[in-house]
């Protein structure tokens, strides 16, 4: 280990930890605990989705058939790619290569913004179609042969759709901010082979946000594609 590494590490060791190992394991464990709270946070929304889908099946089917499955799939792919570049970025930090890390994390940011952009396109589409819950909500299946059977509960589908994807998008925005911070700190020499915990934790966060989308995508877009038509 290079001496500069050790200096960075000593600088980063907080007074109440015995050594770097304890500090690193502690913060990673803390990050996991935080992700547990995030799981429960999204869990409340997933629970609402589950309950209402079980109760108003047909309305949810009609609502989800308005989703643009191709944009959704593209976004899934974009997020998976961003997770790869994030994982590689953390790896670069582990190896003590801040410049490589910065490049990889920059790719992550670009992909993350790409995701948000595509999401914005979808949001815009729903917005102009009056598929935003509230007083202006109006729902048509788009197929005159099959008029909307239960628009009241389709509105609930859209309420949950906006709440779940909106909360997810908010997490993405926060994630982009965090990764930016990591890049700046990393280029400033904050991390080394001996100390890269913040990089690792932001990575965990990013992958978690990816994970949420991995479930949102099938639940909101896919599972009713071929039903009830």
């Amino acid at each position: 280990m290079a001496t500069s590494d050790i200096q960075v590490a000593e600088h980063a060791l907080q007074h109440h930890f015995a050594d770097m190992e304890q500090q690193q394991e502690t913060s990673t464990f803390g990050m996991w605990m935080f992700l547990v709270t995030e799981i429960m946070f999204f869990g409340g929304l997933f629970c609402a989705y589950l309950v209402y889908r079980a109760s108003y099946y047909q309305a949810f089917v009609e609502g989800s058939q308005k989703m643009n499955i191709w944009l959704g799939a593209t976004n899934t792919a974009v997020l998976i790619c961003s997770s790869l570049s994030m994982a590689l970025g953390v790896r670069a930090a582990q190896m003590g290569k801040p410049k490589l890390m910065a490049v990889l994390l920059l790719i992550t940011i670009v992909l993350g913004c790409g995701f948000l952009g595509i999401k914005a396109v979808e949001y815009h589409e729903h917005w102009v179609n009056h598929e935003f819950p509230g007083p202006n909500f109006h729902f048509e299946t788009g197929d005159p042969a099959h008029p909307a059977t239960d628009p009241v509960h389709t509105e609930i589908y859209f309420s949950l759709y906006w709440a779940m994807t909106g909360l997810h998008a908010l997490h993405m925005v926060i994630g982009v901010g965090l990764v930016t911070w990591i890049i700046i700190a990393g280029l400033g020499g904050a991390y080394s082979r001996a100390y890269f915990t913040p990089v690792e934790n932001v990575g965990l966060y990013w992958h978690f946000v990816d994970l949420v989308w991995i479930y949102l995508f099938p639940l909101l877009y896919l599972i009713s594609k071929k039903h009830g038509g």
Binding site: W32, C47, S83, M86, P218, K226
Partner: protein, 108 residues
């Protein structure tokens, strides 16, 4: 054995080879393709089963490899399992109400 010791002392121990990351990434992309394709085929109740099964496989891959759970301490693993456990409690006990409400209507 040597690796075990290193894992304890060196933070670089879970330096996962790039090839593994790329493999996981490829698997995730393939599964995404499969799940989108499966959604366009009429499978009845199996549409949802397939979609959630694939999502769970993808999620597991992300957690195990991208998030390094496979190389983490037992404590971290227990933490993840506990979160899933309480999530299932939230879902299942809520559903005991919604799924059995229809049983208890009194008939005239």
């Amino acid at each position: 054995m040597k690796q075990m010791q290193e894992e304890h002392f060196d933070p670089m121990s879970h330096l996962v080879p790039i090839s593994l990351y790329v493999t996981i990434w490829a698997a995730l992309m393939v599964f995404t393709g499969i799940t989108v394709f499966a959604a366009t085929v009429e499978l009845g109740v199996f549409n949802i089963v397939v979609a959630l099964l694939i999502a769970t496989i993808k999620g597991t891959l992300v957690v195990l490899f991208f998030m390094h759970l496979r190389y983490s301490t037992k404590l971290t693993m227990v933490t993840v399992v506990a979160a899933i456990f309480f999530l299932i409690i939230l879902f299942s006990l809520s559903m005991t109400d919604y799924l059995t409400r229809a049983w208890s209507t009194s008939l005239r």
